[in-house]
Every structure is written in C-alpha cells, then in structure tokens.
C-alpha cells in the first residue's frame, strides 16, 4: 500500500537513484541518442521534489495529474511528453481512491503503458521505455492471476522490469534517436528503459508490506 505521502517519498528515492546514476544514464543516451536523457529526467524529478508541498495538498488523482503536467512542461523532449501523458492517463484511472494497493497499482501501470504507446505510436520490442513497463505488467498480472501474495506479485513486477530493461540491449530501435544509427543501437541498453526500470524497481520496494 502507498499513500500520497509514500508516493512522494518514492519520488524522492527515484530522484536520489537518478543522481547516483548520472554518468551511467548520460553515457547510454550519448551512445545511441543525444545524451540528454539524464538531464531531462533529473530536471523533471527535481521539479517534482521542489513541488512536494503543492502536490501533497492535492487528492491522489489530482496529484497524479499535476505530476504529469509538471513533468511534461519541465522536461520537454520525448520523456517529458511520454511521462506526462502516462501520469495524466493514470490519474483518470485512480478515480476517488486515496491509497494505492496492488490492484490499483496494476491499473495505474496499465494506464501509463497505454498512454505511452498511444502517444509515441510504439509497441513493446521497439527498444524504448515501454519494454520494462510492459514486461513488468505482464509478470505482475500473471502473478495476480496465479493468486500470489502481494509481496510476490511485487517482486514479479520488479523481475519483469529488469528483464524488459535488459532485453532492450539486443533490440533494434524502431522509435527514438537510436534509429538513426546504422546498427539501430543493437548492443546498447536503451536509456529510457533503464530509468523506467529504476522507477519500477523502487515502486516495488516502496510497496513492500513492511513499508505500509
């Protein structure tokens, strides 16, 4: 379970994780893209952290919407509009709920996936941030359908995120800047997949029963 406050703590953990991986993520985008993915994500999350007070005063639904608006307008680029669309669509799925449990988390992630795929006109397998998200959802759903407990479902989700992220290494890019390379970025991880994976991993950690 996660409350609004938990979610904002989670945002801070993501920000920290990004700070620690500045060079790693930058170099991934420099290798296949334009080298700004870390700057973009960091700018967006710094903005969220700086807006904590405003965000905390909103309902969960409105907080998600505001997060989307803030990321979209602060970041720009591909990640800004994709994460922006994802959060805005997720906010619609939240309705009047104020606490995120595992089923709601699944709903939120599905909404995000749909939004990103629609906005970017992309699919799993295109070597993007979609891949870890998609695999995480697939594993999560399978776990839920198999009747696993929350902790197991969350660790399945985490496993899926990592798998999806790692799979981008072997993929040919179909969308995004890596497509401009002759080898379509094969052999390199997609930077957007890596930062998406960070978020999913930390989300799984923050949802752990111990954290409720």
């Amino acid at each position: 379970m996660m409350t609004k406050k938990d979610y904002l703590d989670y945002i801070e953990l993501v920000t920290k994780k990004l700070e620690e991986n500045r060079d790693y993520v930058t170099d991934l985008d420099a290798a296949t893209g334009d080298g700004d993915h870390w700057v973009n994500m960091n700018m967006g999350f710094q903005k969220l952290v700086a807006s904590r007070e405003i965000l905390e005063a909103l309902s969960l639904k409105d907080m998600f919407k505001k997060i989307g608006m803030l990321i979209m307008s602060t970041v720009g680029g591909s990640s800004g509009v994709l994460y922006g669309s994802a959060y805005i669509k997720a906010s619609q799925a939240i309705g009047d709920k104020e606490v995120i449990d595992v089923p709601l988390l699944h709903t939120i992630l599905e909404a995000k996936l749909t939004a990103i795929m629609e906005r970017g006109n992309a699919k799993p397998g295109y070597k993007t941030m979609i891949d870890p998200l998609y695999t995480a959802i697939v594993r999560m759903k399978a776990g839920m359908e198999a009747g696993m407990d929350d902790a197991s479902v969350l660790s399945e989700m985490k496993r899926g995120a990592v798998e999806g992220m790692e799979a981008t290494k072997g993929m040919e890019a179909v969308k995004g800047r890596a497509t401009y390379q002759t080898n379509k970025g094969v052999g390199c991880l997609d930077p957007g997949a890596v930062t998406m994976c960070y978020q999913l991993e930390l989300l799984s950690d923050c949802m752990k029963p111990g954290k409720d």
Partner: protein, 327 residues
C-alpha cells in the same frame, strides 16, 4: 566545460532574454520560452521550434517573411506542449497556424499534442514535418529521417507564402513542396557539451571525423579520416545526389556551420561544392553560407540543396527581416 553562461539550467531563458534585448522586433514570453513578433500581422501564422542549442534556429528566424513564433525547449529536448500552445496562440490571427516540425519523435509527440490542445481551443492548426537528412535511411517502419538545416529553407518558403497572404492550405502546400525538394547531409569534427552534462557527448580521435552525424551529436553513419575540403564536398554531395536527382536543376545551396567552424572553412567548402555542382550541370541560383542550424559549439558542417522552380525562387527571394536572415 568552458561556456559563457551563468548556470546550466538557465541557459535557455537567459539566452532568449538576451535576444529580446538585442532585437527590438522580438518579444520574449517568459517561462514558456516563446519568442514572437512584436508587430502582429493579419496572416496565417507560422510556428517552429525544437530543442535549444541550434541557434540561430529557431528564434533567430522570427520576423517579417519568416516565422511568427519560435518555441524553445531545453537544450536538445523538444519544447513541451504548453509552450508550443502558447507559440500557436501568439501566432494566430484567426487565419490558422502552420507548425514546422523537425522529424524527431520527441518533437513530433510534443507538437502533435499541442496541436490537439490548440484545436480544442478552436484554433485551426496544421503541420508539416521536415525530414531532409539523407544520412539516415528512410523507412516507413522507423522514425525515418531527421530534420536538420533544410528546415531553414522551409521557414523561408512557407513564411514568404504566408506573408503574401496565402491561406493555411496554400502555406502548407508551399512548405510541403519545399520539403519534398530539400536534401541535406552533415558531418562533425569535434563533439559538443550539453551545459547540464558538462562533458562532451562523444569523442573523436585527432584525425577522425564523423560523417552523417546529427545536429544533437547522434551517431553518424561512419567515421572517416580527416578529409580535405574537396573530398568532403564529394562525400557529402554524393549521398545527397544519390537520393534526389538535382541534375539540370537550379538549386538553393546552404553551406551550414555547426557552431564551432569558422566562416573561412565554410567558404572554402563552398568553393568545392559549387565546382562539383557545376561539373554536374546543377546551377546554383542562391547560396547561403554561415551558421544557420548549429549544435552548440560543435565543429562541422552540413550541406543542403533545394530544387527550385519559379514559385520557389520567388518565395526564396521575397524580402525577409529576421535577426539571422535578412534580405
């Protein structure tokens, strides 16, 4: 990192403020990072934009005969939909607005979203996508070709049509016509450093250059030993001419610097380019040499050709008065 800046996260806003101060015909809309004309006119609006770091693109082309608004993103990142929407609103005089988008997924997504928002507000908006970079293979399955320096010709042509009172479909048609006849190809000799990153995005050996590198330092098609100006002209033109048949045509030529290349070298390159073109029976109607679409302080260049007919010649020669292009 040696840059004349104050803080990496303020480069865009301070630059645009500096532009507004330098050019009395421009207005800078703070926070939303839009540069627009001080004097509005009753015509179809023309809006472009994209990541910053390509100066004078795009704010330098705002003014009579070219753009109405330019929307700036962070360095190398597309502007967000809210910024673009503001650019559209400022450009709209009720006759509709055309967006000139460079073909990068980030730009496409943000501009499309802004277009949706503007249309929801009742503004007529249409868009064209520039994909002039022949370094990148064109394919319907992929993102496709990047938009690079040829975009400046699109601004000029569409801007002249709009200034002459063209309707939105007419302005769009002029832009599409230009796009279909423009091809570009570039190369880089040294990398550039994003202000927020602080170290170069890639490295090239002392005797190495990268052919086909994009204007964001995206990897090119191959690395090569340093080439002479004559060889370089040959290599870049070869790809362009293989992609579009310019033979027997009259063309506009742009020899574009990426920011760190001195004008001396661009003119030396132009000398070779003109020679090769004339050997091939391609007549250069007008030449543009300078920094039109840059990559921060990268050294390198790109060549752009646009196949001209009478209509395009007239639009190319129509007067314009912007900070970066006058005449």
């Amino acid at each position: 990192m040696k840059k004349i800046i104050n803080s990496p996260d303020k480069v865009v806003s301070e630059m645009l403020e500096g532009m507004e101060k330098a050019h009395r015909n421009l207005v800078y809309i703070r926070e939303l990072e839009v540069i627009t004309r001080r004097e509005k006119s009753e015509k179809v609006g023309l809006v472009s934009g994209g990541g910053s770091g390509h100066e004078p693109s795009h704010a330098g082309y705002v003014g009579k005969g070219m753009l109405d608004s330019a929307v700036a993103g962070n360095v190398f990142a597309s502007p967000s939909p809210d910024r673009i929407l503001k650019g559209i609103e400022e450009a709209n005089s009720g006759k509709g607005v055309l967006l000139v988008i460079k073909n990068y997924s980030g730009d496409i997504m943000n501009f499309e979203m802004a277009k949706d928002l503007a249309m929801m507000d009742g503004i007529e908006v249409d868009s064209v996508v520039v994909r002039d970079d022949v370094a990148v293979p064109d394919s319907t399955y992929s993102t496709g070709r990047r938009g690079i320096a040829g975009t400046v010709f699109v601004h000029k042509i569409a801007g002249a049509r709009a200034e002459a009172g063209g309707t939105l479909p007419e302005v769009k048609a002029a832009a599409e016509k230009a796009i279909s006849r423009i091809r570009s190809m570039g190369m880089a000799m040294t990398p550039c450093t994003l202000p927020g990153v602080g170290k170069p995005g890639f490295s090239l050996a002392d005797d190495e250059i990268e052919i086909g590198m994009g204007i964001h330092g995206e990897p090119g098609v191959n690395r090569s030993h340093i080439l002479s100006a004559a060889e370089l002209a040959e290599v870049l033109l070869e790809k362009i001419l293989a992609d579009y048949d310019y033979s027997g045509k009259e063309v506009a030529l742009m020899v574009n610097g990426l920011g760190g290349t001195p004008l001396m070298e661009l003119y030396i390159l132009n000398n070779e380019v003109e020679r090769i073109l004339s050997e091939k029976g391609i007549k250069v109607y007008r030449t543009f040499v300078g920094n039109f679409m840059t990559s921060l302080e990268m050294s390198g260049c790109s060549l752009t050709l646009m196949d001209l007919d009478d209509e395009l010649k007239e639009l190319l020669d129509a007067p314009c008065d912007t900070p970066a292009l006058k005449g």
